[in-house]
């Protein structure tokens, strides 16, 4: 890999429709790929997990950020993971968590997955390499 090609991990901690974090991150992600860099994964943490809810139904004249992100992730084969602790607290579950906690429904949108903070730790360890970066998109106060 040439020295000027970077690998980015994007951490989104702000929710859609209450912060601009998911849309800013999507703009950044598109720019990263356009410039020839790569994204190893997107990690949703805290309020950011709401981005992975398949139940979000914004008015038709507004951007559906879950779908916009989902399309981007699938088109470019970028994995995206929601932190399990953040997700369970906020009512974002996949089918296996639905069964485990005997919940009436699951609502994790494809292609998002649910996993532990270890995924973020792994990206952090990788970022000790010069050509790798972890970038945070917060919701702000």
């Amino acid at each position: 890999m040439p020295a000027d090609i970077h690998t980015f991990t994007l951490v989104i901690t702000g929710a859609p429709y209450s912060s601009q974090a998911p849309e800013t991150a999507l703009g950044f992600a598109r720019a990263v790929l356009r410039a020839g860099h790569t994204i190893d994964r997107v990690f949703l943490y805290g309020e950011g997990v709401h981005l992975a809810s398949s139940l979000a139904s914004p008015p038709s004249d507004e951007t559906n950020w879950t779908r916009a992100w989902g399309d981007f992730l699938q088109e470019h084969s970028v994995p995206a993971v929601a932190c399990i602790a953040s997700a369970l607290r906020r009512g974002l579950v996949n089918e296996s968590e639905q069964k485990r906690y005997q919940l009436p429904a699951s609502n994790l949108a494809a292609p998002f997955e649910i996993a532990g903070l270890g995924e973020w730790v792994e990206s952090t360890i990788k970022s000790s390499v010069q050509s790798s970066r972890v970038i945070y998109f917060h919701g702000g106060a």
Partner: protein, 116 residues
Amino acid sequence: MHTLIVIDQPPYGSWGGRESLDMAFSLAAFDQPVSLLFIDAGVLWLKQGQEPDGIYQKSVERNLAAASIFGVEALLAEATACHRFGLTDNNLINGVTRIENTGTTLQQYQHVVFSG
């Protein structure tokens, strides 16, 4: 690579700080060097004798007391913020290092994470 997690929000009223603390513990669990820095109203995390039962929350004091056991290397606090919130040697929890220059401290870490 040493990570510094920065907490700038008080312990009650927002979950941001708690989820930042989880990040610190998670790094420590994977044997990655990590320290915590409390700035602005975040220094209130470090006050002795927190009693949040009245708002149906668990005290964060116990979590922080366990930080060194779990492998968090340092608990740092901005000295000016401690002064502003009346935190002194008499009412800070044990093991806190007060720092005078936040900018210099931030530069000492390769990876700095602000709480969301």
